[in-house]
């Protein structure tokens, strides 16, 4: 089963590490996650190194820019290239963010929140179903960090995500750091929040660091993962009752590969620890 190849804690494949990773197949990372937008249509030495790694190692794919909740028509050429790329990598699924990223053809390159309304649910469900129909592998949607509700909400975030995942019948890439950051910014209990969610749809976890700016905590992907987020990851894994791949994201203040490998090992130990005792932490709430 393809999913069995993707267990443990993987790393996001980032440009500063391409040369080092390509040169050492004994890196010990069980799988990588790559952003297709950063590979498709690129060229040159870093591109060759990226492709060599993707052809050699297990890879999951995670998109940054498809505007699932937006209104712009799909870029058909890109979706065709993306489909080929997904088949080439052998990824068991492809994930995108539950957000919008472009408006009237203009890309903002930021994960922007979809209104928590019934109208937006209907629209996003239709878009996600249409996108899924155009991809050769199952689609996962990831919960984002958001800093404001866009317009007057008719439901809360948990209900919005649940309705979209269920309505579109897609899997969930659960970012536990995003849950933690949203809990800080909006003042809720992340475990109580997760207890309401359709956990049977979780296929993968994301984990990352964040930073506080004034009264707002921002999902920077630029710092080490803090212990409470690791504990939330463990709690989630225990609640799931089975292993799913966890991906450590680091996009800013990217350290040397050795430092990131050590961070991954720390998370892997936490992952192994909780899964070695399946009953522990499996309670509700």
């Amino acid at each position: 089963m393809a999913r069995d190849r993707f267990m443990g804690v993987g790393l996001g494949l980032r440009r500063p590490h391409l040369e080092a990773v390509a040169a050492r197949p004994d890196h010990g990372v069980p799988f990588w996650e790559t952003c297709p937008e950063n590979v498709i249509g690129d060229g040159g030495r870093p591109h060759r190194e990226a492709c060599a790694i993707l052809d050699r190692d297990p890879v999951l794919t995670h998109g940054l820019a498809i505007s699932v909740g937006g209104f712009d028509p799909w870029d058909e050429d890109y979706l065709r290239d993306l489909g080929r790329f997904l088949v080439r990598t052998g990824t068991p699924w492809h994930s995108e963010h539950l957000c919008f990223t472009s408006v009237d053809g203009s890309f903002l390159h930021e994960l922007l929140p979809i209104p928590f309304t019934r109208e937006a649910v209907r629209h996003t469900v239709a878009r996600a179903r249409d996108l899924q129909a155009r991809l050769p592998v199952p689609l996962l949607l990831e919960n984002i960090t958001y800093y404001a509700e866009l317009g007057a909400a008719e439901m809360d975030e948990a209900a919005f995500i649940t309705e979209v995942l269920e309505g579109a019948d897609v899997g969930w890439l659960l970012d536990v750091n995003n849950v933690y950051v949203n809990a800080l910014n909006f003042g809720f209990d992340p475990k109580a929040w997760l207890a309401r969610m359709p956990m049977e749809r979780v296929a993968q976890l994301h984990i990352a660091g964040h930073k506080r700016f004034g009264t707002l905590t921002v999902d920077t992907h630029g710092a080490d993962v803090i212990d409470p987020v690791i504990e939330l990851m463990q709690w989630t894994l225990a609640r799931l009752g089975h292993p799913v791949p966890v991906l450590l994201e680091r996009d800013n203040h990217i350290p040397d590969l050795e430092v990131l490998l050590a961070e991954r090992s720390r998370l892997q130990a936490a992952y192994d620890d909780v899964l070695a005792v399946p009953v522990r932490g499996g309670g509700h709430g």
């Binding site: 690129d42 591109h47 903002l108 629209h123 800093y147 866009l150 317009g151």
Partner: protein
Amino acid sequence: MAEARTLALQRTLAALVLDPEGGTFEDDPPRFARSHGLPEVDAQSFQRFSEGLAAYRELARLSLVDPIETMFPITKALLVREGAWEACVDTFLQARCVVSQHYRDIAPAFLGWLAETGWGQATWPFLLELAHVELLEVLVARFPEADLPPGLHPDPDPGDRLVLDPATQMVSYHHAVHQTSEEAPVPEARPTHLLAYRDAEGRPQLMDLTPAAAALLTRAQTESLAEATAALELTDPAATLSLLRDLHDRGAVAGFQAAS
């Protein structure tokens, strides 16, 4: 459209991020929302979440501006020195020229916007050339692999034409923009010809060409070396062939084939 409210909300957030008026959003968030046609219930939500919405302006603009500041450090240094950088960025963002999902396309979009609008070039006639040369090596380094025509050989013959490596670019400027720095961003006004190419390691290199060499490399892509050297009245064919062999060894020239 059935989802008019959702689209209106998204357009309003885009305006908050990209338009100059978004900078004054926090003065009166509901008014900003109303000015974009949102109903009162959404306008009040903009008041309630004004801090978070303002954060989106900062975060999204950072996402768009960071690659520009990274790719165009000398252009930025010039315009910062002249007190014009913020205006430049504001005008670019308001123009909504970033139409690609690829993050790497943001910097080329900025260059394209400079070329299309001529922004700032009445004051700084070298501005477009300066920005272009800053991006040139990056574009060469990342140029997608391409197939070469079959039958290329490494040694030039007078009856051959040359084929540049697909990543190689020849450019001509009116200013020596490649010799600027963040400390000295104003270039000397003199005709400049550059050859940008990838070396054997795949790293970008820049070569300053004489006018004669630039003319030769241009003509010899479409006519034989013999015809090109004759037309340019180059009197030392051995030196010409030596130059071309050197460019082939460096990776700038993919090879040679008989001119038809």
